[in-house]
Structure formats: structure tokens, C-alpha cells
Symmetry: C2
Subunit: 217 residues, 2 copies
């Protein structure tokens, strides 16, 4: 946060000779090396997950990625842009939901969806970035807007496209709202008995709800 970490010389890793600047030396985009973009995104996800949108800083992200803050700006632009890019990757497993739905038609769609979402949340690797987004979106209007426009709209439209019910987007959103609420009580608030419940028991009870929202006329 505090400006530590920008000190030294990311330039040390540069291949060729570079003119030394006054103040902080910086990597130019050309010498950032392969994988830098991914490393920054990973650092951004971690930073947003741990600190939430408001407290996360470009400098903290840059430090964790081992690059200069200017490079983060170069790749992504503003903090909002970094956030949008970071959560877009985070939501890839969630957005893959249309494949889950498409497979097998609407029979058993409720259980497949419940199992898929619980699986995404049970996996620590996919849970952390989701938590980051949810936490940020609940306390910051910019983050909420990113979630609303980048993620939810696409997610809901993909699910809705597979449905044969009136108001399919509304139906998909009701199903999503239930999964969001479960995630919040189980993984964020850690309210018992839901927090310790066997995932299979949750799926068993929730599947018929999702099935009804997504298929019942």
C-alpha cells in the first residue's frame, strides 16, 4: 500500500541496455517478458480478493506481480479496468455454464446447475476470485457495475438462451440469486448449519428449486 516495493529496479531484468530514468526505474512493456500480463492478473485477483476493491491498490498489485505500477497501467489502464479484466478471467468457469446447461437438455438441468455452482465454490482456486468480486461489488459502485454489466448480463443471457419458459432471463436470475445467497451464507458469513453441510445435501434440496425456475411454465 504504502509505496514500498516500487523502489528497486525492475529494470534489472531487462535484456538490453536502457537509459536510466530519474526516480523509479521502470520496465518498458517490451521487456516485460511473456506471462507478465497473466502474472499481473493473478496478482490483481489476489489483491482484490484479500483487500476488496476500495483498499486494493495499483501499487500493491504491481508489487505482488514483481513489476512497476506503470506497467500495470500500460497493460490495463485504470484500476477499474484491471478489476474488470481480473474478474472476467475469474468468471470464466461460471460463464462456462452454458456448456453445462446445453448438455442433456432441460431434464436434470436443476441438479447439473446446482452441482456445477457448488463445485465452483467448493474449489478454493475458483472460490477466491469469486469472493473477491462479491465482496468488492457489495461495497463499491464501480465494482458493482462491472459485475452487473460484464458478468451477470452475459451469464444470465447464456442461461436464458437455453430455456423455454416465459421471461427466461428473470427465471435464470432467480436461480442465480439462490446460488449467490447460498454462497454468501456458506462461504462468506459461514453461518451454520449451512457452512458445514455436505455439498450433496445442498444439491439435493436446491436442485428441484432450480429445475422449477428454469423449466416450469
Amino acid at each position: 500500500m504504502s509505496g514500498s516495493g516500487s523502489g528497486a529496479d525492475d529494470g534489472a531484468t531487462a535484456p538490453g541496455p536502457q537509459p536510466r530514468r530519474r526516480g523509479r526505474p521502470r520496465r518498458s512493456p517490451q521487456d516485460a517478458g511473456p506471462g507478465t500480463r497473466e502474472r499481473i492478473l493473478q496478482a490483481a485477483r489476489d489483491e482484490f480478493a484479500e483487500r476488496g476493491y476500495d483498499k486494493a491498490s495499483m501499487r500493491g498489485i504491481a508489487k505482488a506481480a514483481g513489476v512497476d505500477a506503470a506497467l500495470v497501467h500500460h497493460y490495463f489502464g485504470t484500476k477499474d479496468d484491471v478489476f474488470a479484466a481480473a474478474i472476467e478471467v475469474s468468471f470464466e468457469p461460471v460463464l462456462a455454464v452454458s456448456a453445462v446447461i446445453g448438455r442433456g437438455g432441460t431434464e436434470g438441468i436443476g441438479e447439473r446447475l446446482a452441482r456445477y455452482f457448488i463445485g465452483v465454490w467448493e474449489n478454493p482456486a475458483t472460490r477466491a476470485p469469486l469472493l473477491a468480486v462479491v465482496r468488492s461489488a457489495l461495497t463499491n459502485e464501480t465494482a458493482a457495475k462491472v459485475l452487473r454489466t460484464f458478468v451477470l448480463r452475459r451469464l444470465l443471457e447464456r442461461v436464458a438462451a437455453e430455456l423455454d419458459v416465459p421471461d427466461p432471463t428473470f427465471r435464470a436470475e432467480l436461480a442465480a440469486s439462490h446460488m449467490v445467497g447460498i454462497a454468501i451464507l456458506r462461504y462468506v458469513i459461514k453461518a451454520e448449519p449451512l457452512a458445514s453441510a455436505d455439498p450433496e445435501r445442498i444439491i439435493e434440496l436446491v436442485a428441484p428449486t432450480l429445475q422449477r425456475y428454469l423449466t416450469q411454465p
Copy 2:
């Protein structure tokens, strides 16, 4: 946040005559007058609602209530204690749920519950403090613990006591999770089409879900 407000002297609240200190003159509890406690609680709810747990300060609450920070400490103790007291009042309408459930038995319980919760959230006076708690609990472990122990446990136990199903607390919590998820997508993230949906349409679709969780063996 910055350590302001911790400076001096909760000792100012000691009984008996007090030496005047340097700096701001302060009201002693004796001259706080009737309604002070309520005014502080109201200010606390507003402060937590607007700023979230982390950013809310005892000093900000005191200022909004027109009292000294030491008086807030005197009445409530720490910031955690103020938070707990503030949200306890906020949740009174929610905790009144057992009356809603008790009335009329389990027939139609799903619709009564859905209507009751949507009503609490549609009313700006009750929505604001609920939003405050949800926002705070999602970003702060202390606030999450307060919500978990003071509110959810009591709420769920009251609802569970009225039910005749296996694992009634788990069932009540699944119902609660759906209402929490709807509240978050509709009122916090403001995701469409749920954000603009007619409350009656939400109740109509959600009631059977709650009914099933709370009554189906």
C-alpha cells in the same frame, strides 16, 4: 479510522464532578438527556449503512448524533458493541418473523414469508439498516460474526421452531439464503431484470420454493 477518537478519556464518563479538560468541552452522560441512546443508535445505523463497518468511525457516529465520542463509548463500549446494538435494532422487523410464521400454520407459509421479507426490503426505512449489515458483514470478519451470532442464529431458530421437517434449521437457512440472494441482486447489485421486477411477481415465483423448504419432508 486513524486513531482519532481513541485519544483521550473515557474517564470523562466517571460519575461525580469532573475537571474540565483541555480541548473540546464535552457532555457528560448525566446531561445527555433522554433519547440520546436512540440518537446514537440512529447515527450509528446511518454511519454503518453509508460507510460500511471498516470505514465507520466512533467519532463520525458521535458527530452525527451531536455528542462526544466518549459518550458513545460510555453507552455502548467498543465499535463492535455499537455495531451489534445498531444492527440488533435494525433486525427487529426481521426477527418478528416468527409472528408471521406462527399465524396460520404452515399452509401458505411460503407466500407469507416471501411477502414479509420483500416488504421489509421494499421499505426504505428498513432496507437501509439491512444493507448496512450485509455490506459490513461481507467485508469485515467482526461484522460477519455479529451477524452470524446475534441475528442469523436467532432468526433461524425462531423459524425452525415452527417447522415440522427434518433439519428445520438447515431448511430455514436455505429459505433465508434465497431471500438474501434476491436482496443482494435486486437492491445492492441492482441487476436487471430482477431490480425492476414487480414485487408481486417475485413473491409469486419464490413462495413455492420457500413453501417446499419449510414444509416438505
